[in-house]
Symmetry: C2
Subunit: 463 residues, 2 copies
């Protein structure tokens, strides 16, 4: 006898949690499609030589390799030049996107808006809340040669629509611009490689605190004058509250280098776009401390936080990059995109009590008391299904109390009862387990009644 | 520069094909949920010791093993007793289901109806139409200790609903029963292990033809008398056309052993259930040559064929089995289930010209002629989205002909045009690329107009 268990570091859900998770996936997908993004799915494994061009450091050490039975034990021969196995599991959706766009370049229309929602794999150290397999939900817009900053401006409107639809509480999309940052550094005489090094420190403000970062920047390695460090700190402290305040704070930064002005103009245009698209001003803010990693991003950067749960960290991040697929094609493919790590988010929301067990995807249980009633129960179930309801038929007679108890445990809202008494009168009794009420309805009107009830609940914001 | 390419044996789709594929997935999922099946997803990898209990022969040789970077080169130490790596990719959805049900036994309500639609992995020999990564769409009902044959009877109604909804042509669900088969063998004096051996030969009738199979059964290895073989052949030739014919053919088989009668009774009850559930009689038939593999199935077995494309083979198969998870739990868990290999089916349908390139998931392109129109285009797009339409906004001004050409290539149905002339009159022009018509509509009524058009098309059976 083998103990049935999953490998460590995966999230496997019981059906009712899976229903809640699936609803989040559906909501995200529907919103991505609302904004004209097209679906892409890629294989779970890529050729190692393709996948590992872009990695380095930690990510490469976390890659999972894949070998067929035949290749086992002769890893050195089966693989590429470095003797690694031929294939590996994707560790994000960006490298597969780069490979996809380069491979299918001549069949795609640019700017290419794609969404992709699949699982990715990383050999993380086993730890609570760390996952080795997790969903990423990504959108990107890829241009050929150029991509207007207007696409960057549309992205936060998508983020807004997604989290509004998910209904997991108030949130703020935090905005910054790498050109504004780097331009500001230039103005302070911090140039070239030092910019990246300083950015790296600024990025640690949240974790290390201002004093520690200040000490590092003033210390031997950097040797930046105290007054310059103070200006860096003041800059990174800038946060806006509301649309006009964001514009005012951008103005208040004073004149800067050409790069700085370019970043500021793009940020202003982005704020205008959000307003034109009707995104409420409480949902976005400027936060000049946001840097988002090091070299990849070149323009707008985004992070999104839950107002009541900032400790969860950014729940949706991304930004603009200059060249998606330089390893695979000579074409220049600038892009902008965001990613939601849904497995981790779902786990965190559940830990914080922000997602509760969902009602079942089954709308109604059609009960059965004796074998004579089976044919009618089957036919009635089919009529409800034809109307668009999800229905489970009780196929073996049981006591009503048992069937009721089952529906309650399973989260099924409606229990449909047709005893002799009801049958004689052409009605059915319906127990609504959510409202704790029971009512009778003419059998021919049952489907319509349940549909209306279900829709009303949705309108009222029920799940 | 690395050549961007996928590993061999995977199906990667361009966006419009992905949209068509996604619609099939959605249709199947929706239908599974209609019948009360609950979603389950399992990790792509399982512990090798868990995954490999059930395999043997070909399947085991096709398993893909997974190793983290750290475990590379020390496969012998990292694995289980046999020195295989710790984890492997699932090769079907049945073993993960067995592990899932055994692991979560105390948290599940039985009979447990689950659906699972995920990719599985097999190191098949590279060959046209063979896939190393492919979707399976499975449903199973798992009982605890017992499971009424009524669940077997409901399954073909689900198959019917799925393929009716997919709209890929007329199909027939072919039915047989292992007890009927084995009972008939008993009656002919074929007992024990010889039953399995004879079944194996009967299973080859399609491929080898009747003469070859007859020769084998009469030959040295089996040594079955010619008249007995003739009765086996006659039995396996039985096919019904229509409901009453199916019942009549069952009757015509004459009296048999207790096992035979048990099988026949269950088949009769199943036919009654299909009738009660309103499944058209043209969609199901008895086919007594169907055996479906060897030892796994113990009761009803199903295969489904496209009437106009029988060469594609069975597009949905399954049956009843006695014990799902004997390797993981002492509980007896009988079940019944079916599987659709969607990747292969999609590929075959495309090869046969039965799926065509889908229209885009984007309903409308809102055009743009000059920068001054951007704000209005953004706001209009948002209003259409709020109404439930999928909308792409043209963010950079281009000539109308170019925008029209883009929408046409992308399969976007509606192009929304608002030039100065239209703006002055408070209307927009809409080019309907599907109908090749252009019309004007008051801007405030645009969303409603497009929604109605979209719904009407769906009602007319459009994709």
């Amino acid at each position: 006898m083998i103990k049935p268990r999953t490998p460590p570091g995966v999230m496997e859900l019981l059906p009712r949690d899976q229903i809640a998770f699936q609803r989040m996936l559906d909501t995200i997908r529907g919103t991505f499609e609302r904004f004209g993004f097209l679906p892409v799915e890629t294989p779970v494994f890529e050729l190692s030589e393709v996948l590992l061009t872009k990695t380095g450091g930690e990510t490469e050490r976390q890659v999972y390799f894949v070998q067929s039975t035949g290749a086992l034990g002769k890893a050195a021969e089966s693989g590429g030049a470095e003797g690694v196995p031929e294939m590996a599991l994707r560790f994000d959706l960006t490298v597969p996107l780069a490979r996809y766009v380069a491979e299918h370049e001549h069949d795609l229309a640019f700017p290419f808006r794609r969404y992709q929602m699949q699982r990715v794999y990383r050999g993380e150290r086993a730890q609570r809340g760390r996952f080795r397999e997790f969903y990423q939900c990504d959108i990107d817009v890829i241009g050929k040669d150029t991509l207007s900053p207007r696409f960057d401006a549309e992205i936060p409107a998508v983020i807004h629509a997604v989290f509004e639809a998910l209904g997991i509480g108030a949130f703020t999309i935090q905005l910054n611009h790498r050109k504004l940052l780097r331009g500001y550094f230039e103005g302070l005489g911090i140039e070239g490689d030092r910019q990246a090094a300083v950015l790296r420190e600024i990025d640690k403000l949240d974790k290390r605190g201002e004093d520690a970062v200040r000490a590092t920047l003033e210390g031997e390695g950097f040797g930046i004058a105290a007054d310059v460090v103070e200006r860096l700190m003041a800059f990174s402290r800038v946060r806006s509250t509301g649309h006009d305040d964001a514009l005012a704070r951008l103005d208040a930064l004073g004149a800067g280098t050409a790069l700085f002005e370019e970043g500021r103009d793009e940020l202003r245009a982005l704020l205008g776009t959000l307003q034109a698209m009707g995104v409420p001003e409480a949902r976005y803010a400027i936060n000049l401390s946001i840097a988002r990693g090091l070299d990849y991003y070149t323009g707008m950067v985004y992070e999104t936080v839950l107002d009541a749960n900032p400790g969860i960290g950014s729940i949706c991040s991304g930004g603009r990059y200059e060249d998606l697929a330089g390893h695979y094609t000579k074409s220049k493919l600038p892009g902008v995109g965001i990613s939601i790590g849904l497995t981790r988010l779902f786990w965190q929301l559940r830990e914080a009590g922000l997602v509760t067990t969902a009602e079942s995807s089954v709308d109604a249980l059609v009960t059965l008391f004796d074998d004579a009633g089976l044919e009618h129960a089957l036919a009635l179930s089919q009529r409800l299904r034809a109307a668009g309801l999800n229905v489970e038929t009780q196929l073996e007679p049981r006591k009503l109390a048992k069937q009721m108890q089952y529906a309650d445990r399973a989260g099924i809202r409606f229990v449909v009862i047709r005893g002799d008494n009801e049958a004689e009168r052409g009605v059915v009794a319906v127990k609504d387990l959510r409202r704790g009420e029971q009512f009778e309805v003419v059998e021919a009107e049952l489907a319509q009644t349940l549909l209306v009830e279900r829709e009303q609940w949705k309108v009222q914001g029920g799940q």
